[in-house]
């Protein structure tokens, strides 16, 4: 539940921008998630209201795409690549090392809300496998030492 007035105003602006545009639901959800970090039930109801569509439609679309999240996320999102090239280059171990160092299982967020660790399928830097992306920075050729160094950057 959001209590912050400023964010609510911003959401209002986003909704009015897309109100009469076709195909606006996904960009609105993306922007709303950019604002709040995730999509709470409350936000999805507001989006439905603002765009004049049924809440079930909003929920249906939001749950179809893996980008959307329904619980709070950490300050930084780590996307550990498990694409083909990374899979054959030891991605499983890299994710394991990160999970151990952070004390959190893939798909979950650390207790201090600093990191969310996710598994994804290919970040498009396959020639530098294994690869992870932290927020929008990509890191390649990972081993244990480099994982430590990268986590230390944040």
């Amino acid at each position: 539940m959001c209590t912050c007035i400023e964010k609510q105003q911003k959401l209002g602006l986003i909704l009015s921008e897309y109100q009469n545009k076709s195909g606006g639901l996904i960009p609105v959800l993306q922007k709303a998630q950019g604002l709040y970090g995730y999509l709470s039930e409350d936000i999805m109801f507001k989006v439905a209201d603002g765009l004049g569509v049924k809440p079930s439609v909003v929920y249906g679309v939001a749950t179809f795409y893996t980008q959307f999240r329904f619980s709070p996320v950490g300050e930084h999102i780590i996307r550990a690549c498990h694409g083909t090239a990374c899979h054959v280059s030891g991605a499983e171990n890299i994710t394991r090392i990160m999970a151990d160092k952070l004390g959190v299982e893939p798909g979950k967020t650390t207790a201090d809300m600093k990191f969310t660790l996710d598994r994804v399928a290919c970040l498009g830097c396959c020639s530098l496998a294994p690869v992870v992306m932290v927020d929008s920075d990509v890191y390649g050729r990972l081993d244990e030492a480099r994982v430590e160094e990268i986590l230390g950057n944040y």
């Binding site: 996904i26 498009g124 396959c126 020639s127 990509v138 890191y139």
Partner: protein, 591 residues
């Protein structure tokens, strides 16, 4: 244009360059230049394709030119001291000659500007003949002539299916209606493929120009580029490029003084592999769940918002300006009878020169992997190459002489796909690879077709029990039966091709399946449940590296004494094997 007398330092800052630490190298150059007040030009460029040498830095000076590879911030001072100030190249930092020469085995049409120009400068694009093809098309050619030229070039769609591009444009142009759309498919979802990302990051204007020419040809005035959300840098550079093209009058009304007008928008994907399929992509742009629908009607008749729509892949479009400038005949002079031109491949996995290459169609897989790609990394043996991602298959060593063209690759049971080539050595288990892909398709199935939704899940369960050593005698038969049914009863390409990774591995590596099931043995010694680790007494010097790296405290032993592994504690991650410099730890069969 550049002033020739000034030294130029060009840092490769595609995603791969950045992933290897390119931004730090760039910053260090900037510091060195600023602190010494040097009068040199510091620039960035995209991907040159030599990802295995990232971070790449090109120093262009009157005294010589060096592409430097594996550049770290620590090397910057010496490059500035020696090359920029003293005028000598630093030989030990140079990319080896042999690797530089491998570029000449390629035929770069799509990648003509990649790594050559700054992706954020429309001027550099224009000075490399950019937007001239658009002018030529608008001023000298009718839409029909453009379509005819593309048809005669023999260009086929690079998104996977290989449909002739000119024919597709012909359908869309004949479709009635004054409102049409042109979509660029930049969803690149195949794991292990990164051609489209590199093109968009390194040369976004060529894709935009291709779209403009295509839109003129079919009569579309509105376009979308659908880019996957995992490619933030590509999106950023596209946004810059679109704004620049607008400012120069290449996008908007009356383009280059003609009657043709065009608006272009970026749509960011939200993470769904199936949205690469054209009807699902359209549904996603419309703001709905990205579910494919039955064709016909094809998008050329009834596409986005019910209007005639043409969809092309990024690489397909990047070819267009070249074909218009150089002519259909020049393009068709490359390639084979039915597959004309070139194809970009993303080489990854256990290959020495991992990166992007572009070769004429018809080159053999062997030449692509062993000549252009320089063979297998790490002193291992080639086992298979995976082509076509989750819709494709694993091609074994015995078929390495297969030429890369649509028909020949199809005959192997794999598909050309979008161009991802993941090379595998003998340490990779083929059953595990099949499991890996089924896990992927099972996750990404949109759920519309029952066989795709449930059938892939059943196949995955079977594969999971096989790799765990719990396979049943009937499992192979069951897999084959399911594969047949899923292929036949799925609506879209995702389900229709989902069984391919299983079918090709069954065809070429059946013995691996059988030994998993019958003997509970993984021939590649990769499947965790079927192996254990053992110290080879004669080799172990008791250095303690394995003790340090083991996350499970399974290795014990005093310094300089033989170490031992406690099989009960061991989690079989294999980190000790990777760490041991003496080769003193072996993977052995557990059963």
């Amino acid at each position: 244009m550049y002033m020739m007398e000034k030294v130029r330092i060009i840092v490769g800052l595609g995603s791969c360059g950045i992933a290897a630490g390119g931004k730090k190298v760039y910053e260090r150059f900037k510091q060195e230049i600023d602190s010494r007040g040097l009068d040199v030009i510091l620039e960035e460029t995209g991907c040159r394709g030599m990802c295995y040498h990232e971070v790449l830095v090109d120093v262009v000076s009157p005294y010589g030119r060096g592409p430097y590879g594996h550049v770290t911030p620590e090397m910057v001072k010496e490059i500035v001291d020696t090359h920029v100030l003293d005028g000598y190249v630093v030989p030990e930092f140079l990319v080896p000659l042999e690797d530089r020469m491998s570029l000449y085995k390629q035929q770069r049409i799509v990648l003509r500007n990649c790594g050559e120009i700054s992706p954020e400068s429309i001027d550099e694009y224009i000075s490399n003949n950019g937007y001239q093809a658009l002018e030529k098309a608008l001023k000298q050619m009718s839409p029909e002539e453009v379509i005819d030229e593309i048809t005669r070039s023999g260009l086929r769609g690079r998104g996977g299916a290989g449909f002739p591009t000119g024919v597709k444009w012909g359908f869309a142009s004949k479709s009635l209606g004054n409102e049409k759309y042109f979509i660029c498919n930049a969803d690149e979802g195949d794991p292990g493929a990164f051609m489209d990302r590199s093109i968009l990051e390194s040369d976004p204007h060529s894709v935009i120009e291709g779209m403009l020419i295509g839109s003129y040809a079919i009569g579309a005035n509105h376009g979308y580029i659908y880019v996957r959300a995992e490619y933030p840098l590509a999106i950023q550079r596209l946004k810059i490029a679109i704004q620049q093209a607008k400012d120069r009058g290449f996008i908007g009304e009356h383009i280059t003084g003609s009657d043709f007008g065009f608006e272009l928008e970026i749509k960011e994907g939200a993470g769904a592999f199936v949205c690469g399929e054209e009807t699902a992509l359209i549904s996603s742009i419309e703001g709905n769940r990205g579910m494919p629908r039955l064709r016909p009607p094809f998008p050329a008749i009834c596409g986005l918002y019910g209007k005639p729509t043409n969809i092309n892949n990024v690489e397909t479009l990047a070819n267009i300006p070249w074909i218009i400038m150089e002519g259909a005949k020049a393009y068709a002079s490359f390639g084979t009878e039915k597959s004309k031109g070139t194809k970009v491949f993303a080489l990854a996995g256990k290959i020495r020169r991992g990166g992007l290459v572009e070769v004429a169609m018809g080159m053999s897989l062997r030449d692509v992997i062993f000549d252009v790609g320089d063979g297998i990394a790490g002193g291992h043996e080639f086992k298979a190459v995976q082509l076509g991602g989750p819709s494709g298959g694993c091609i074994p060593a015995s078929l390495l002489d297969t030429p890369v063209d649509y028909e020949s690759i199809n005959q192997t049971g794999a598909i050309m796909g979008s161009g991802g080539m993941v090379v595998m050595d003998e340490t990779i288990c083929m059953v595990d690879i099949a499991r890996f892909f089924l896990n992927f398709t099972q996750n990404e199935s949109c759920g519309k077709c029952t066989f795709c939704r449930i059938g892939t899940r059943r196949m995955l369960e079977i594969l999971e029990r096989i790799v765990a050593g719990n396979g049943d005698q009937n499992d192979i038969e069951l897999l084959e039966e399911l594969a047949q049914s899923i292929g036949k009863t799925s609506l879209c390409g995702l389900g229709q091709t989902a069984p391919n990774p299983v079918l090709t591995t069954l065809k070429y590596f059946r013995d691996e399946y059988e030994s998993h099931i019958r003997d509970r043995r993984c021939l590649a010694k990769a499947c965790k449940e079927l192996i254990s680790f053992a110290i080879i007494d004669e080799q172990c010097k008791g250095c303690g590296l394995c003790i340090k790296v083991c996350p499970a405290e399974a290795v014990t032993g005093e310094k300089k004494k033989l170490h031992v592994i406690d099989a009960d504690k061991c989690v079989r991650c294999g980190q000790c094997v990777a760490k041991c410099k003496l080769g003193a730890i072996a993977r052995v069969d557990r059963y």
